[in-house]
Symmetry: C2
Subunit: 361 residues, 2 copies
């Protein structure tokens, strides 16, 4: 069918006009007489001509694409992230390149490579080294998502530390719990680093002795099950575990209930993220909601604006919300609805979005 690809010159020949005119028609720029336009459009239509993306991109010196770099962990968190980002990018006809760095040693080189092919880059916090981010930022617009980059690189994030502290205070002060453990690896990602910091801060604020070292496991459900084993092996069982995210919390929940413990009576469990499943388990999970999808969409918007030169390079600090359900020991709604709708009571933790960060030099 399409033996030799249709070019703008071919269409020009067929329509009996110059390439400039074809370009003008297909882009709707410049002045073209109605009659000529029709003739060109007919030729385009008839032969199914579509301008070649590469030629156009080269001339415009724009790729029409942005990159998204993330570690590549499984689960709802990343699905939401990717979708939120993509849905925003597609609105501006920008395509999205993805790069999972997980477990690859040479990922920094790959990110640099990707930077040659896109107009902007969104990088998840902790996936590439700060040095590399700096190098990238010198090449093209970069936004860090969920984490913070070097000075001058805008970041979109939530106040993890404050949220984790509020959650921990709820357990310590409102429920009077004393022996809490943190499940998650603070070295694993900036998010966890901050949540661990908030966890400790809450202890400090209430003038309690500092907590034990964290149970260092990953962020997926099997990691939570593994953590549950460790908790159950303790000589003195903790009263509650504050998990770095919902998925590991669900793993802990499954692990300990599988061994006959009751939650929250025997052990209190909390999560972070408020993934859909959090509201559906028994007991429903007390957690912190962060609007992952919206966060990712914000990142995409910011990145596209910066890439288009139409925005200041400022960061964003997003609101979180403490979602109190049954797993912390708070009374559940009279009759747990099997639809899994969110349970009251729920208290709002942190308020407004606020512009933060600085403008790049």
């Amino acid at each position: 069918m399409s033996s030799s690809r249709l070019t703008v010159r071919e269409i020009a020949r067929l329509a009996g006009v110059s390439v400039a005119t074809v370009s003008r028609v297909s882009n709707g720029t410049g002045q073209v007489s109605e009659e000529t336009r029709r003739r060109v459009l007919r030729a385009i239509e008839e032969h199914g001509y579509r301008p070649h993306h590469l030629g156009r991109a080269l001339a415009a010196r724009r790729h029409g694409a942005v990159g998204l770099v993330f570690p590549g962990l499984s689960g709802p968190y990343f699905s939401e992230l990717i979708q939120g980002f993509e849905s925003e990018a597609v609105k501006t006809r920008t395509s999205v390149h993805i790069l999972c760095t997980h477990l690859r040693a040479d990922s920094d080189a790959e990110v640099i490579e990707m930077a040659q092919r896109v107009d902007g880059l969104a990088v998840l916090g902790g996936t590439v080294s700060p040095d590399t981010i700096e190098e990238l930022a010198a090449m093209l617009p970069v936004v860090v998502l969920a984490g913070d980059g070097p000075a001058g690189v805008p970041a979109v994030r939530v106040d993890n530390a404050a949220a984790a502290a509020a959650l921990t205070r709820h357990l310590l002060a409102d429920h009077g719990l004393r022996r809490l453990e943190f499940v998650g690896d603070p070295n694993g990602s900036p998010d966890v680093t901050e949540r661990w910091a908030g966890f400790r801060q809450a202890h400090h604020d209430l003038e309690l002795p500092p907590p034990r070292a964290p149970i260092r496991v990953g962020l997926q459900q099997p990691d939570g099950v593994h953590a549950a084993e460790q908790v159950l092996r303790r000589a003195i069982r903790p009263q509650g575990v504050v998990c770095a995210n919902d998925e590991s919390a669900l793993g802990v929940l499954v692990g300990v209930t599988g061994r006959g413990l009751r939650v929250p009576e025997d052990l209190v469990i909390t999560g972070f993220d408020d993934i859909p499943m959090a509201a559906l388990v028994t007991p429903p999970l007390t957690t912190v909601r962060q609007p992952v999808r919206e966060l990712a969409a914000q990142t995409a918007r910011l990145l596209l604006q910066v890439a288009a030169g139409s925005a200041e390079q400022t960061g964003l600090l997003h609101a979180t919300e403490l979602v109190v359900r049954g797993s912390c020991g708070c009374p559940r709604s009279p009759e747990p609805t099997p639809t899994g709708r969110r349970h009251t009571p729920r208290s709002r933790h942190s308020g407004t979005n606020q512009a933060a960060s600085t403008t790049t030099p």
Copy 2:
């Protein structure tokens, strides 16, 4: 810093050679004397020159990218899918464009648009219309993943119908169950269509009356909870539910245990996919394993080969494996390990990978 971008001509000037020589050195093609090579490399190194991707791509008439089109549902299934695909693509320095079509009316047009920017396209079954797939296949290499496309378009898939039939037979014949329900919408995706067909086939094979109409819900956990409600409202409660995938099965599990039912004593539940969580819940979920990640990787490999012109366009039918755990009523391992390791017994269902499908004309 880089006020005007470095071009090959600029480097040629700086090294005192021609652009052809610079190109030869940076690509390692052709003959270049050792001394000249060193001089060029020094200029490249010194100024941090990197060939512009667009120029190179235009000259090579290759984008160096492939596209992945999927509906955009959340959950582990899609994360695995994306990662499996991406990890394979990155090996050949090919970048991956993603497109989530979910809930967008004009997605077919977007897919066509994406086709202009990539060397090949992997499309999840059921995400775009067969007509559009045909149109795409006329433009560039296309592989359908988990579903089948029009004749001539290679597909990578598993034998869902046979696997679902085997699973259903296990419940009907081995456990002697009679009142089974299917949870999932056969119109929602080709996978579900086939699983529903297998479910019915098993009834037919055993000369049992055909099953009730399916409980048409989506594939996510909340959908499963919704389905559980419907099951609980039945005048005569079914003895078991065969769910279209693990996530909805987990939703059903949560939904019914939250209402005090015991699984499998009061209700048998099975899933499909064998996501990690399936082994970790109580009781562990009887399901069918399909190697999603490997499936996606296969798809990427096939697509890249076809795009490089180095492979026949043949499809692949992947093996599945029936994973029998506790939720169907089979005895669990003596002591359920809290690590969530897979439980015996386990029976292999279907054997070898086999080349299927046809070569494109």
